[in-house]
Amino acid sequence: MATIDIRNVRKDFGDFTAVKESSFTIEDGEFFMLLGPSGCGKTTTLRMIAGLELPTSGEIYLDGEEISQKPASKRDIAFVFQMFALYPHMNVRRNISYPLVSQGMRRSEVRAKVQEVAGILGIERILDRPVGGLSGGDRQRVALGRAIVRNPKAFMMDEPLGALDAEFREHMAEELRNLHDRMNATTVYVTHDQLEAMQMGDKIVVMNNAVVEQFGTPQMVYDKPATLFVADFIGSPSMNFLRFSGEIENGGTDVTLDGQRLIVPRHLQGARGDLVFGIRPERITLSDTGGYRGEVLAVEYLGTTQIVTVQTANGVIKARISAGYSVSRGDRVGLEFESETVTLFDEATGKALISELNAEVLADG
């Protein structure tokens, strides 16, 4: 299939910059997520890869060939939209075979190809049904079938599950991912849903305000966020931010918040001023003895775990702890932080300070 290389791609619409110089590489066979809030430039990026928009500057390489100024029809990339557009007057078979017929492929070959695709998607039994009466799931499968049947170099998907309800969406997400694992086709997938991105993606690009904030595997982006934005956007509840004024030395291993000394990974970069102590909810434990304290504002039971919201001197934070731990609203509790997972940020730049935790990731930008 295909490797896609995005090099310094930029897109302006008049005075408005939709995507600022962005670079990343989509490896062959990857399920690659473009994640970000609405208006961040993720769909424009996808459309540039597909050829539905042409970049203002920069290059896009598909398997080594520079294609940034080629029209969509010459790129051999299939696009699956959020609203699955099927031809309502045609049956399933004709909907799927349409792209092949319009390429002038021989009848017998088309038939075989459609049969194969229907097999992959498990829709053989509905091939001769009109698309009108199909369920949402089957419609989506047919739309996918139309994309797959062309055997393109890569698939572009723009929030294909966005319109579905939660339960069905989870089911389709799994089906899409399984389909990808069987075909191993390079897939670029746009979503604003961080959980969907974490669940389905081999790699994630997080975009915000037309800029690529970070790029990496889901676990890496989660554990070693490069910016406050990424730390906040990924995870539910998201990373906790304890804001404080203080300093950390180059080589330092602790900071002081609310009079308490808290251990952090050894820092390879010093900073002073307005800093942020970032800690994931599941890396916090409650204890009677912890020196850093707060008051419980809310307890949310979730079955195996519970989320405890705590007011501290440095802001409100959420801890995810075992559902077996007894705690109620109004309790004064001590908080312990798993020190090796702490990320410090510089409030002014929004960037993570480099430490032993994240040096490897942040070194390459």
Partner: protein, 331 residues
């Protein structure tokens, strides 16, 4: 506030039965969540209590009083809908004051402005009181529409998926806020949702509805830990409970058709061999998808755990729940 009691209530629309023989008590000061998929009868139950629909059978008592012959206004309930319905041309202050200005209530102006200030405080929208409704964000609008219910002093607050049109972040903020408001006011609240997270996190009691029937009623912990059927077991918990043939791990108990295993109730290291089909690193947890004799099983692992797709792991159940042929709980 007041107890609300439903006694064998039923409602059909033509040949469609929406609610069948539902009985339950919503205790004074409780936060009851009705949970179920679309079409389970949640909204109809709410509308029956509000008096927006007429009962076919059964009795509804508010504060001990049979309300069958009462109009919605006489029942003194406050309802919040999914779609915030604010008056766009009015300010936040006027939107909040509106229910109190009703001629029947004859609330003095000083009382109205006091109440509006209090509610705005609780909902943290005091600084927006003079904004027009159209100048608010989605979350602020929904807070105002909740506020419009709160300014009154009803017997019960009825809320129909009030958070479902908001984005995930805002929803989680408002969940905590609603919980806090309800506790502070000591309000009685009946809340309808299909979102299990909302049910588990906010409720003092959860009622699980299935095709118009109330199939279980209890605290979130009871519902999660002691479900009385496979249906209830699969309504709560993410990832969903694994339902497998009862004998898949060998010995079983008599009459058992299905074994229910929560993802966290699968122990790795010994037992039967299952093949790893997919691993999801979600940051706070690792979801491991397994295949065992053609059955899909999802389990959890600590963050940082590594697995190879296609490799084998040994698994065995712990704290399994057994269900009979009809899906009813055995032990």
């Amino acid at each position: 506030m007041a107890d609300v009691e439903l006694i064998n209530i039923a409602k059909s629309f033509g040949s469609e039965t929406a609610v069948r023989n539902v009985s339950m008590t919503i205790p004074d000061g409780s936060f009851v969540v009705l949970l179920g998929p679309t079409g389970a009868g949640k909204t109809t139950t709410l509308r029956l209590i509000a008096g927006l629909e007429k009962l076919d059978a059964g009795t509804i008592k508010i504060d001990g009083r049979d309300v069958d012959q009462e109009t919605p206004a006489q029942r003194n309930v406050a309802m919040v809908f999914q779609q915030y319905s604010l008056y766009p041309h009015l300010t936040v202050r006027d939107n909040l004051a509106f229910p109190l200005r009703s001629p029947i209530l004859k609330t003095p102006a000083s009382e109205i402005s006091k109440k509006v200030r209090e509610v705005a405080e609780v909902l943290q929208i005091s600084h927006k009181l003079d904004n027009r409704a159209t100048e608010l964000s989605g979350g602020e609008m929904q807070r105002v529409s909740i506020g419009r219910a709160l300014v009154r002093n009803p017997s019960i607050y009825l809320m129909d998926e009030p958070l479902s049109s908001l984005d995930a972040k805002l929803r989680s903020d408002l969940r905590v806020e609603l919980q806090r408001i309800q506790a502070n006011l000591g309000a009685t609240l009946l809340y309808v949702t299909h979102d299990q997270i909302e049910a588990m996190t906010m409720a003092t009691h959860v009622g699980v509805l299935r095709e118009g029937e109330l199939v279980q009623f209890g605290t979130p912990r009871e519902i999660y830990e002691q479900p009385n059927s496979d249906y209830v077991a699969s309504r709560l918990g993410l990832p969903r409970i694994n339902l497998l043939p009862a004998d898949v791990f060998g010995s079983t108990i008599s009459g058992a058709e299905t074994i229910g295993l929560r993802p966290e109730h699968i122990v790795q290291g010994s037992g039967r061999e299952a093949r790893v089909t997919r691993v999801e690193h979600l940051g706070d947890q690792v979801r491991v998808h397994l295949q065992l004799e053609g059955h899909t099983i999802t389990t959890l692992s600590e963050p940082g755990a590594t697995y190879k797709t296609g490799s084998m792991v040994k698994i065995e159940p712990r704290n399994a729940i057994y269900f009979d042929r009809d899906g009813s709980r055995i032990t």
